[in-house]
Structures are given as C-alpha cells and as structure tokens.
Amino acid sequence: MATRQTQFLARSLLTPAVGLLFIWMIVPLALTIYFSTLHYSLLDPGSEEFIGLENFRYFLTDPAFLASLRNTLVLVGSVLALTILLGIPLALLLDQPVVGRNFVRLMVIAPFFVMPTVSALVWKNLLMHPVSGLFAWLAKLVGLTPVDWFNDVPLFSVILIVAWQWLPFATLILLTALQSLDEEQKEAAEMDGASAVSTFIYITLPHLARPITVVILIETIFLLTVFAEIFVTTGGGPGLQTTNIAFLIYAQALIQFDVGSASAGGLVAVVIANIVAFFLVRIVGRNLEA
C-alpha cells in the first residue's frame, strides 16, 4: 500500500529529473524560436531587430534548403534501405547453426562502437582514397578505373560509411527478435509441408514486422542529424552535394554566423524530427501497456 508519505517521497525523487529535462527542453527551444524572428548576425552585433517570419522565408526559399532536404531524404532513405535489406539476411544467417557464432557476432557488431569521426576518416583515407586507398588498388587489380569517391559520388560515399556504422544495429535487433521466435511454430509449418520460402514469408517476416519498424524509427531519428561523418569527410561539398539539413544549419550558425536564419532552420529540423517521433512514441507507448 502506498501511504501518503511514500507518495510524497516518490514525487520528490522524480522532481529533479523532470525539472532538468523540462528546462533542457523548453529554454533552448524558446530561445531558438525567439532568435528565429530576429535579424541577428554575430558578425554585425547590435543590429538585432524583429523581422517576423522573414528568416523562415529566407531559409525555406534558399536553394540550399531544397538541396539539403533532398540530400537528407536520400541519405536517410538509402541508409535505411541498405541496413534493413542487408540486415535481414545477415540476421537470418547468424540465426543458423554457425560454428563460432559468438565470435562472428562480435565482428559484425564492432562498427557500431567505433566513434563516427574514426570510421569516417578510416573509410575516407585508408579505403576510399582515389590513389592509395584499398578500393582503388582492388579496382586496378581487376582492371577497372579507380573511383574518386568523394568527388564523383560524394553523397553515395557518405551513405556507405553511415550504412556500415548502422548495419550492426539493424542486424543485432533483428537477430534478437529472430531468437525470440517460437521454434515450434516453424517446425509445425515444416511438418505441414511448407517450403523454406513460405515459412519465411508467412511466419518469420510477420514476426519481424515490429522490430523492423523499431529499427526504421530509431535509425531515422539518428540519421536525420548525421553530422560528424560529413564534417570530417566532405565539409558538405563539393558544392552542396553532401550538405544535409543538420550540416546546413551548422554552416549558417557557426560559419556564416547568421543566428536568425540558423534558428529558423533549427525549427524546421525540429518539426521534421517530431513527425518521426510521433510514430515512435506511439509504438513504444503501446509496449508499455503490456
């Protein structure tokens, strides 16, 4: 029985966390909203004035915004597709009887623990360098012309690096879900004469629907704000080819020092993330009831 005393205690234990998170959420967001209505440049101090929605008009009609929105969508979509389409077969493979499975699993999951700046630089230099990279050497070995990755296909190069980092996450979650799949169900299907393919389509895949949704939502939240990989490899270029929304806002804030416009951009990013978050919170919330 919860007495009034324990209730009071419970509430006072909860307060610091709630209070801090509340401040953390409200104060910067309120400031972002406030700055987004100002003409405010750090290069021109003292010239702040209220300009209404002018920053939003500027940010949303800037060709760089459309380019970066497109890049963001391509980046998120491609990495999602790659990690899930490769993650499903990989998880199925690791769910098979494999000698030394634990060791293989360690190798597969390792990229997830590598800090983004390290993976980006290792790929950029050691693997993707157009002259001395390993890929260039392999290409010449089979008689192909080496690809100048970050000049010819910059966005695709970034996608490859980010997909490599997130493939372990998708695989691990799908594998965890596969291992909780009832073995007897599959056996019963096999006894009834179901082929491996139809067992996969009618039993395994439906079972994976929920973990796949979770992977999509969580990856999307992180992929919308990919930053370090772009920062250390291309710096958003060449031109705007690898500038995503996160990088565009960073460039406006800390390279061009345009506080107002960067704040308007920040709010656009918040809105986009909230659309995704809406669905994720619903799925996780449903799980809380169980």
Partner: protein, 276 residues
C-alpha cells in the same frame, strides 16, 4: 534444438557467416594493421597485408606530438562524468516511477523519451550562445553537462525497464517484516538492481564516449575529447595515415571491449525496451 542440422548446412552457413563477418569487420582490422606500419608503407600501393615492417613508433609519436593522453583523459572525464551524474539523477526518478507509479507515469515516461527526439541541431544556436556568454565553450564541465542532459532520458528509461522487473512480492515481504524504506533500498533493492545499473552505466559510457555532435561543436583544444582530436586529422591527406590509425585504434579499443560485453543490453537500451 529439436531440428536436426545437417553437416552440409552447418558448413555452408558457417562459411558464409565468417565471410560476411570478416568483411564487416575488415575496415577496423585494416586500420589496426595500418597503425603498425611506417607512414610510407601505410600509403604504399600495392598494400602489404601482414608482411611489412611492424613498428610501434606511431603510438609513441601520437603521444609526443599531440599529447594523446590529455584528450583521452578528457574523454574519460566527459563520458564518465556525464554518465555518473545522469545516473545520480535518474536512479531516484526511475525508482519512483517503477515502484510508486501514478496514472501520469506513462505520460511522463513518453514525454522524457520525446525530449531525446529533439535534433541537437535544432538547439545548436542557443546552446552555443549560452556557452559563449558563460565562458563554457571548450570546457569539460560544459560538455559533461550537455551530454548528461542528452543521455538522461535513455538512462531513466533503461533503469525503469530494469526496476520494473524486480518482483513486487519481495518488497511486500520486506515491508511485512518491518523494513523501513531506507533498509528496503539498501538491502533488498540495490542488490537486485545492480545488474541493470551496470548495463545502463556501460551503454551510456559508450554513447557519451562516441558522441560527436556537441563535442565537435563545443570543443576545440583544451577540452577536446578523442572525437574532436581524431577530427583534427581530417586536414592533411595521406601524410599521417599510420598516425591517424594509431590514434584511432587507441580511441576505439576500450569502447570496443566494453561494447562487446554489453551487446545484449544495447538492444534493450537503444529500443527503449521495445525489443528485448
């Protein structure tokens, strides 16, 4: 296992699993190998895979020229400090929500989760300006603070899901036997909560160690942790591959080991309990 695995099937799946596992791991392996090469060999075409002149001179140079341990210490302070403070705030909160839930508990939990969804770039401008005003740019305390807040929702969530699994009956029994709340906390709850606490600690150390948005934007030299330090190698091309590899190997080795230990909890923590 009820189903018979034929030898042929085991051989094929083992070979394929090892092949793909090796391919995925290869960039890391390649980096570790490069860290033991001379700069000339690291850059050489055709590359040498194992038969090169092994040297540890890069590791010494990295420390000498760039004070590697200073940045490693920053990483330890920032990741460790932010995780510990987050735990101190989160333990009472999670305990309270798991054991004295009210009808608003679910809403509070979901609201906490939603703060984690806010893209950091959305608040980059105000945080940068606040830090600039208060002299917190390039300070360890500033980074500890922001990483702590950033990870707090995950810490609370993980602890909550672990605390929820502690059977209520045991608490009832302890109370029946006349245990006060303080004694209940020390003698009954803490021992049962330690595994959950340990995995929460581990996962958040990893997340904070690898965090590369705030660390890149808010630190330059004095407070720069390893993420920022490694990023400083992005400038000159080709000249420092072996040293970059040595610095990178040192930077990821401890976290790789921790990560391998915590892979089970990783799924649970990162999916907020939606996949176990």
């Amino acid at each position: 296992m009820a189903r018979m695995a034929t030898t042929r099937r085991v051989v094929i799946s083992t070979a394929m699993a090892w092949l793909f596992g090796f391919l995925i791991f290869f960039p890391i392996l390649w980096m570790v190998l490069a860290s033991f090469k001379t700069e000339l060999e690291a850059f050489a075409i055709p590359p040498s895979f194992l038969f090169f002149h092994w040297t540890i001179e890069n590791y010494a140079t990295v420390q000498e020229r760039s004070d590697y341990f200073h940045h490693a210490m920053n990483s330890i302070i920032i990741a460790g400090g932010s995780t510990l403070i987050a735990l101190l705030i989160a333990i009472p909160a999670a305990w309270s929500m798991a054991f004295s839930p009210t009808k608003r508990t679910k809403d509070i939990l979901l609201w906490m989760l939603s703060t984690k969804m806010m893209p950091p770039v959305g608040v980059l401008v105000p945080i940068y300006l606040i830090y600039k005003t208060f002299g917190l740019l390039d300070s360890r305390i500033g980074l500890v603070f922001i990483l702590c807040l950033g990870n707090l929702p995950i810490v609370i969530w993980m602890l909550f899901t672990y605390f929820k699994e502690i059977p209520r009956d045991i608490l009832e029994a302890a109370r029946m036997d006349g245990a006060t709340i303080g004694r209940e906390l020390v003698y009954v709850l803490t021992p049962m909560a330690i595994p959950g606490l340990a995995s929460t600690l581990l996962l958040n150390l990893i997340l904070a160690w690898n965090e590369a948005f705030w660390t890149l934007n808010l630190s330059t030299s004095h407070a720069a942790p390893l993420t920022t330090f490694i990023a400083s190698y992005s400038g000159p091309e080709g000249l420092f591959w072996a040293k970059l590899s040595a610095a990178s190997t040192l930077a990821i080795a401890p976290i790789l080991v921790l990560g391998w230990f915590s892979q089970k909890q990783l799924v649970r923590g990162l999916t907020f309990g939606a996949v176990k």
